[in-house]
């Protein structure tokens, strides 16, 4: 039986920081672990709980953050009781690979093609985030030096970091060349300010989303607290982290645009139409004609729009990447009613080196993004976004069109650009510009819950 669900006061000291606040650390190392000795591994998790970075810890802008999450297989390997394991949502139990068909992870992105360690079901994710690479390396070494003595093994450690800007300093720009991370959901009680555009647009302006959209045991946007997996001592203040390793076909992206555009200006415009933002991050919703770096740099303006004045998509196409992932008030049909039930907090960083701007061919190098998508309900939030908003178009009257940038296109995709004073333009024969290299669903426990793992399984489930 699920535990009774009454909302408890938000405990910022018990919730891991990653669940509620977008990380600004330029460097991270993602460790994927396997449990070999459940008793000793439980002791280790219980012991590191006190070092996990909480929501409150982030108030002081620490130079380092440390977070720990477990897959369902991991919970199982630790000896969690059957009733407890069975009380977790079905999609979490099954894991990401088993959900491939609905996620559009087929063909080149199918689990059969996934890289190690994602060719098996990993047990745990340990994330070390840092302001410098030296700090990341030192903290990772210190944290994991004794891991094999504690019933755990490191299957893989993936380094990711912001790409260098023109002056060599790290900048928040992803591999296709676009400013990343502007839109994040504002969450009640996180401690972060509600920037215009970050939450839900109500009559009174922008408000933060209810914490229950990201944290278990809290009120969500329906005004209720969904049932918790049992025991509540394990699940309360937890969250789910969806890890995706996404390879980006940067050369193919540029090549497609070069073939679709007659000059540099049109190249930039078509790319911006596909993204929904210009390279600087300026949104088409506010800068439809040309890039506006000043607007992009102003956090109070660069996200302050609803699409309500652009329902046809003549400024920002309805199928543009950023509009799909956050449709705001821009869906005219019935699908507009529940958009804020499908929001995701995005963590994660790029991996691999930048493809030079003058590259004449694909260099075959691995590059992309490690995405950590945080939500309280994987099926309702992440899987819905992936299936309905990214890999379909029917929700917005776009037929079978997929996201032009990260959708699972197969060379026959199309993308419609509505225009004023001219018929719409349609780009055709879109290939995939992103391939899934692996991933898994993780549970990000509250810190007290993590600490309680050091108790025996019997006590844990009583």
């Amino acid at each position: 039986m699920p535990a009774p669900s009454d909302a408890s006061a938000l405990d910022r000291n018990d919730i891991q920081g990653m669940a509620m606040r977008p990380y600004r650390f330029p460097f991270a190392r993602y460790h994927l672990l396997d449990v070999s000795d459940p008793a000793r591994a439980r002791q280790w998790f219980g012991g590191v709980a006190g070092r996990c970075t909480s929501v409150a810890d982030l108030d002081a802008s620490p130079p380092l953050a440390f977070n720990v999450a477990l897959s369902w297989q991991g919970l199982s390997a630790l000896g969690t009781s059957q009733p407890s394991l069975a009380s977790f949502p079905q999609e979490f139990q099954q894991g990401m690979a088993a959900r491939a068909d609905r996620l559009g992870d087929v063909g080149d992105s199918a689990p059969a093609q996934w890289e190690a360690p994602f060719d098996r079901r990993v047990h745990a994710l340990v994330v070390v985030s840092a302001m410098t690479s030296a700090d990341r390396d030192a903290a990772s070494t210190a944290m994991l030096s004794d891991i094999s003595d504690n019933g755990l093994s490191v299957l893989a450690a993936i380094d990711a970091q912001l790409l260098p800007g023109p002056d060599g300093r790290p900048v928040a720009i992803e591999h296709f060349g676009y400013r990343d991370g502007i839109t994040q959901p504002a969450i009640e009680g996180s401690g972060d300010p509600v920037l215009p555009g970050a939450g839900v647009h109500d009559t009174g302006g922008w408000r933060a989303l209810k914490a229950g959209e990201f944290v278990l045991g809290q009120l969500d946007e329906t005004g209720a607290v969904p049932d918790l997996p049992s025991p509540a001592s394990l699940s309360r203040n937890g969250s789910y982290v969806v890890l995706r390793k996404l390879h980006q076909h940067v050369f193919a992206f540029r090549d497609f645009l070069r073939h679709s555009a007659s000059d540099e200006t049109e190249f930039a415009l078509l790319a911006a139409k596909m993204m929904g933002r210009w390279q600087s991050g300026a949104p088409l919703a506010l800068a439809a004609e040309r890039d506006d770096p000043d607007l992009a740099a102003d956090a109070n303006r660069n996200n302050d729009f609803t699409y309500l004045d652009d329902l046809r998509g003549t400024n920002c196409p309805i199928g543009a990447h950023v509009r799909r992932l956050n449709p705001r008030s821009g869906l005219s049909g019935p699908n507009g009613a529940s958009v804020h039930r499908h929001r995701l907090l995005r963590q994660g960083l790029p991996y691999g080196s930048r493809l030079p701007a003058d590259a004449a061919a694909d260099d075959g190098a691995e590059r992309g993004a490690i995405m950590l998508l945080v939500n309280a309900d994987i099926a309702r939030q992440f899987e819905f976004v992936q299936k309905v908003w990214i890999n379909d178009g029917d929700f917005a009257g776009l037929g079978g069109d997929k996201d032009p940038v990260i959708g699972g296109n197969d060379g026959s995709g199309s993308f419609t650009i509505p225009r004023t004073g001219a018929p719409r333009r349609r780009l055709q024969s879109l290939p995939a510009f992103v391939s899934t290299r692996g991933g898994e669903y993780f549970f990000l426990p509250g810190i007290a819950a993590l600490r309680s793992l050091a108790e025996s399984p019997a006590e844990q489930t009583s």
């Binding site: 949502p89 049932d227 049909g333 019935p334 009613a337 529940s338 039930r341 819905f384 029917d394």
Partner: protein
């Protein structure tokens, strides 16, 4: 899920539930109200082609048969999110109904009472409700345009 049969973009789902004793009249009234005025709340869901409820077996059982766009889970979840009161007002008259606000239980209840579809034909398997409404809207606008220039 074998209880959901899909052709193109359209799927069929049929479920049979037991009506609570003496609840059939109230259920009948609910269903007549819900489907009056061109099914206001149902049409606002935007993904349902046809839905039919039949009270049968001497007022003891309810048949629910629907044709809808997209994935059954996304569809039911949407349904539960947007119209929980409507769902409660119908299946609240049936045995074992868990309520619409706990989605996993609702899913298990509906899919658990679903029966396999044996034969299924659709004249427009690749046209969704949104596609059809859009095409009709364009045709209307085109006719108006022809009227204006004619």
């Amino acid at each position: 899920m074998s209880v959901v049969l899909t052709t193109g973009k359209i799927s069929a789902l049929t479920a049979i539930t037991k009506i609570l004793p003496d609840h059939a009249d109230a259920l009948r009234k609910t269903l007549l109200g819900l489907t009056a005025a061109n099914g206001g709340k149902i049409s606002s869901l935007g993904t349902i082609h046809i839905v039919r409820w039949v009270i049968f077996d001497n007022d003891t059982r309810l048949l629910f048969a629907t044709n809808f766009d997209g994935d059954v889970e996304a569809y039911m979840r949407d349904f539960a999110e947007r119209a929980p009161d409507g769902i409660d007002a119908i299946w609240g008259h049936c045995e074992g109904y868990p309520g619409a606000r706990d989605y996993p239980k609702l899913r298990d209840y509906i899919l658990g009472s679903a029966i396999e579809t044996t034969g299924y034909y659709c004249a427009y398997p690749n046209s969704t409700v949104a596609d059809i409404n859009k095409a009709l809207d364009w045709k209307g606008k085109f006719d108006t345009f022809l009227d204006q220039i004619g």
